[in-house]
Amino acid sequence: MTFLRFDGISVLAPRQSLVSEEMDGDVVIFDDDDGSVHVLNGPAAAVWGLMDGRRSIDVIVETLESLYEKGRVVVRRDTFEFVRELIVRGLLVETPGQDP
């Protein structure tokens, strides 16, 4: 069942059946369970790269803030929207996590 409740301290990671390849700054994700493929471009690829099952969303937002000069509010809003989409697509799962 898809969970949609998450907040800044949530720690998320790619589902175990996913394999990803970085291609010229984009990320291509293959789901070995159902054969589906997903392409993430630009900032979406950067967010995906940070979803390692150790960083909380707050930590990820801080990292992105330093990469993109958009301001914390905008980066936080965009990140949350994107994470929600990845959860709906079934690509992310919640983990106990540990901040680095």
Binding site: V19, E21, M23, D26, V28, F30, D32, G35, V37, V39
Partner: protein, 289 residues
């Protein structure tokens, strides 16, 4: 009276066909010429004509009926479709892609696209221009080396392509004509006697899309889009799993990747040949001396 073809081995599928007319057996021997083998065939297809007030044609494999049709061309097309399907199903050790391909200097130009995109007509035109013929339907990648084993099946040209390639109309015995009325099956050596490619490596990915009346245009395609396309084009990625995906990523990284839209076959062919020349020159310039 029945006539049996020789035995054929197409990738990992071996078969022969038994038909009610000698001319039809000879026609099948001709279109499966590249797959001839001296080994005994494991599987036997048959087309039987059932005589009644209006004749019926049945297609069977190893004695099990697959289809019965009133029209001989429907039965014949189904036979060829079924053989192709069994080639795909029995050749799982290869990573199989739904794509046409031609070869030049040991490098393959992969043309992955859905049915109706013009990949068969384009590969036919490229082979006519001097490139080697790999396949018009199934690219068979060896997962270890990423070399391509050619699958040079007869090119299947539907009526929509006949006007562009009238010279490829097969010459068949009058008795065979009813069987091939709705499809031309062109044995590659009819295009050029030396048309068959040998094993080659992926060098280009060009995804074609035919659009009526469109001016031919070509644009670079990102490697991520190329990889997604290759994944979607794979017949049997579920059998190769994550390793197969990584191998396709290697293909996308090693190839020059383009999208081609065309309405005129000759223009499309010219553009692809220019891409090849341009990339070969770029490779020559970039090569360390």
């Amino acid at each position: 009276m029945h006539y049996q073809t020789g035995a054929f081995m197409a990738l990992d599928f071996d078969f022969a066909v038994r038909v009610p007319e000698l001319a039809l057996a000879e026609h099948l021997d001709s279109i499966f010429l590249p797959f001839g083998t001296s080994q005994k065939a494991t599987h036997l297809y048959s087309i039987d004509k059932e005589d009644s007030q209006s004749p019926l044609y049945s297609v069977a494999l190893d004695g099990s009926r697959l289809l019965t049709a009133r029209r001989p061309d429907v039965a014949f097309s189904h036979l060829l479709w079924h053989i192709n399907r069994n080639v795909i199903e029995t050749s799982g050790r290869y990573l199989l892609l739904h794509a046409a391909a031609a070869e030049v200097s040991g490098r393959a130009i992969l043309l992955p696209a859905p049915a109706g995109s013009g990949k068969t007509t384009l590969v036919a035109a490229l082979v006519r221009s001097g490139l080697g013929y790999v396949t018009d339907e199934v690219v068979a990648l060896r997962p270890g080396s990423l070399d391509i084993r050619p699958y040079p099946k007869a090119l299947t040209l539907d009526p929509g392509s006949w006007e562009d390639l009238p010279m490829m109309r097969p010459t068949v015995d009058r008795g065979v004509e009813p069987f091939v009325a709705s499809q031309w099956n062109v044995e590659p050596s009819r295009i050029r006697t030396d048309a068959l490619a040998t094993e080659c490596r992926p060098g280009f990915v060009v995804t074609p899309r035919y659009e009526l009346g469109a001016r031919a245009t070509v644009e670079e395609m990102s490697r991520s889009s190329t990889l997604a396309l290759l994944v979607e084009s794979a017949f049997n990625l579920e059998a190769h799993g994550a390793n197969g995906f990584r191998r396709l990523a290697e293909v996308a990284r090693s190839c020059a990747c383009y999208r081609l839209v065309f309405g005129d076959l000759q223009e499309a062919c010219r553009l692809v040949l220019e891409l090849i020349t341009h990339n070969q020159l770029a490779t020559e310039v970039g090569r360390p001396r």
